[in-house]
Symmetry: C2
Subunit: 130 residues, 2 copies
DNA sequence: ATACAACTTGGAGTTGACTCTAAGTCAAGT
DNA sequence: ACTTGACTTAGAGTCAACTCCAAGTTGTAT
């Protein structure tokens, strides 16, 4: 699969893919005789996993470390497991913050919709105003 | 309330608070006679709202625009409402990505915990391996 | 009244994650 | 054989969001 096809499949730019390869988020991608990237299923599996984690805010640094451990072989099962658990904690924390913000947003949107009708903004709780 | 107390209350740095004031995420904070920031309840209300939205990934740019509209008065109810709805869409999208990543992470963690016991990693779906 | 921590400002520097540029190579169509 | 467009590299540049610095001021505890 060409770099362009992979980009379209995962909705990222070619520059980002090359960057991921360069820094070690994904492995060195298979090439044609002419030196052009030709992603194997295995390469694509890495792209799939890593872009998913990246888009959930897992830092590039952490993904590089995961791949490094993977390359080191089966002795790193525990380390990889711990790293994934750390990533999960981060995501769960982030999600909690998102839920807080959503609750606040929904409240404010409701108040503003009311205000658009009545012309008057009216907060139940002054600390939520503004 | 001093800048230090506000920092501790919302778990951000004084530099960040001053930056938020400078760029207009929060209003010009009330000062003592000597020129030192002395946050009123109103100031703190802004900090509360804005840090909540920021930590859910709403861009600074958007928060500045919201405050600008607020300053313009009641004619901007609709614009503010639309801006908040846009922010909500962003957050919901983000949350979806986080859920995807969590699902994948939970699966992988389970597999790795199994592998730590048995010594063998075993994926049901090869595209989830790596 | 003197030390000393905490505050002030304007402006420069850093960080993470891309994103772009230049100069060149490869591949497909005519 | 030639054009055209997608690809290659190394390395520089950009962007958002802070974060740090220097030089000076304020407030409080001895």
């Amino acid at each position: 699969m060409t770099i362009k096809e992979v980009c379209e499949k995962f909705n990222i730019t070619a520059d980002t893919l090359r960057y991921y390869e360069r820094v070690g988020v994904i492995p060195e991608v298979h090439r044609t005789a002419g030196g052009i990237r030709d992603f194997t299923e295995e390469d694509i599996g890495w792209v799939k996993t890593m872009t998913c984690f990246r888009s959930a805010g897992v830092p590039v640094e952490m993904l590089i470390e995961y791949r490094r451990l993977f390359e080191l072989g089966d002795d790193t099962f525990i380390a990889r497991c711990n790293l994934l658990k750390e990533a999960r904690e981060k995501i769960l924390e982030e999600k909690k913050r998102y839920d807080d913000a959503l609750k606040k947003l929904n409240y404010k949107i409701a108040k503003y919709e009311e205000a658009c009708q009545t012309g008057v903004l009216n907060w139940d709780d002054e600390t939520l105003a503004k």
